[in-house]
């Protein structure tokens, strides 16, 4: 089973590097933010796979913090693009 988990993790890493191409050449800014968010979700899953393969529960906490940071970063980037500021009301 550990070999299978390694295979899934390497497959997800290859997918994440493919998404990096979109983050590099994306024609608009929202494309780049979306691609970075997708890479973050993939690396969250890879961190959970590594936590089970290595038997380290600490990596699960790292994955939780990674997911929360990914969410907050993308939401605030979208809001900044929409309103042009980070504080105050929605306009």
């Amino acid at each position: 089973m550990e070999t299978f988990f390694w295979g899934v993790g390497i497959f997800l890493l290859v997918n994440a590097f493919a998404c990096l191409w979109r983050a590099s050449v994306g024609p608009t800014v929202v494309d780049r933010v979306l691609a970075v968010n997708i890479i973050g979700t993939k690396s969250l899953v890879v961190l959970t796979l590594l936590a089970l393969v290595f038997g380290r529960g600490m990596l699960l906490d790292v994955a939780l913090v990674y997911g929360l940071l990914n969410f907050v970063i993308t939401i605030s980037a979208g809001r900044f693009m929409e309103t042009g500021r980070l504080k105050g009301d929605w306009s």
């Binding site: 997918n15 929202v30 997708i38 699960l60 906490d61 993308t74 979208g78």
Partner: protein, 109 residues
């Protein structure tokens, strides 16, 4: 009588392969679709299903452990945050005047 461990491993493999397939579809959609709205349509939904399925497989594999609750919390976090992110980014792109792609005027892509 099939041993219980084999059933657990089979469920894990099936769920993980299902999720990996959805991740592959999401990556292809992110790379190949013509404009931002169709890309976020493909990528966020496939990421939700793929991550939820692979994390569910890992929760099945780890049994009833203390780490299972953290994996289930990760499943809930991904299922909540990924569609919200897609909606927020699509709204930001729409409000800032990004026009959807149409096949008749493909030079605007």
């Amino acid at each position: 009588m099939i041993p219980l461990v084999d059933i657990r491993d089979a469920v894990t493999v099936v769920l993980a392969v299902f999720g990996a397939f959805f991740f592959l579809v999401g990556t292809l959609g992110l790379l190949r679709l013509p404009d931002f709205f169709s890309r976020t349509h493909a990528a966020t939904k496939c990421d939700t299903v793929g991550a939820g399925s692979i994390l569910g497989a890992l929760a099945v594999y780890s049994g009833l452990d203390s780490s299972t609750w953290k994996v289930l919390a990760l499943v809930g976090l991904v299922l909540l945050s990924s569609p919200t992110v897609g909606h927020a980014l699509a709204r930001a792109a729409h409000r800032t005047g990004l026009k959807p792609w149409q096949a008749a005027k493909a030079e605007n892509r």
